[in-house]
Subunit: 178 residues, 2 copies
Amino acid sequence: MSKKKQDLLEHAEKLFYQNGFHAIGLKRIVHDAGVALMTLYNHFDSKEDLILEVLKNREKRYFSHLNSMAECRNTEGTVSVALLFAEAHIAWLSSSGTNGCMFLRAKEEYALENEEIVNQVIAHKKSFISFLVKQGFSHAHSIQLAMLFEGATSLSEILDVNDIAIQFRSLIKDSFRE
Amino acid sequence: MSKKKQDLLEHAEKLFYQNGFHAIGLKRIVHDAGVALMTLYNHFDSKEDLILEVLKNREKRYFSHLNSMAECRNTEGTVSVALLFAEAHIAWLSSSGTNGCMFLRAKEEYALENEEIVNQVIAHKKSFISFLVKQGFSHAHSIQLAMLFEGATSLSEILDVNDIAIQFRSLIKDSFRE
DNA sequence: ATTTATATAGAACGATCATTATATATTTAT
DNA sequence: ATAAATATATAATGATCGTTCTATATAAAT
């Protein structure tokens, strides 16, 4: 991929996450990326196309992050594995910032405006649940884990991530004990 | 309160929730409320002031909703009480729509733009946790409950609320059993 | 070296944004 | 009935929005 395109994706992701999608203009994105406005339109059809690609990029990175954790999985047992992914998610939250889930925010902002964005976010969340099922969790347990993950993400906007991590682990131990 | 003002608050809340705060213009709000633009500025200092009042209004309604549930609390015991509030929250989600938590969305959109909005949302979430503590839950359990509530709200954007309710109750039973 | 592709700055487009001004009307209170 | 308060429609403000056009410059490929 072109370096300019990569710069655009990176700065767009950061700005969208910190300010929201409607709140940030393309002028600001190209300025921060150090790129001309026409270069953006050379790589992306529209702002909403840029948003779609930003989300695809972020999804790929998030799953890579989880998978890299799953690899060093020397332990079996539902609790341990769930705790493993919980730590991975907490680590993601710590480095990602405290502005909620970017996917859900995109869906919320474009709920009535862009069906493609909405569908892509729904697909992402469903494939996250599928990912958990593939890891050996039951469907019910996967939904429960997903709920806990979303809850941790939201609450990290209000409370310290370390305090959340403690209760996060505690909830998992109680719900997944064998 | 003036009826015009109430109409404005109601339509603003609905439009903000469905479209986002930056995405919706004041023209659209006054049009839907059947009111002149200057009437809005007669009742509110600015768009962001309107947002603050919408959130205050919603917070009042949400806590009223929870309290009306707490009143018909003929049962004691941590699990039963937690389940009671869980049902109240599920009922709120069912009637509120599936676009996430309006408070967090406001905080996210104005994170770098309006400190007052951010602080009001943080205060709201903290007073929700305080509410739980007042209901007799430990601090740790209150944070856990808050996390579950937020998770249910987020996940209701993706899955059917009834399916969520099942796992929601299951998580509470596991974590709050005496 | 010449062609082809990509990036540049800057202006223009039409639209919409929040906000203010103006001047007329309607409602409410005394 | 008279005065005060509130609501109305409309337009203007200056700014910003996403997108397109133009014309020049840089870079890559043949």
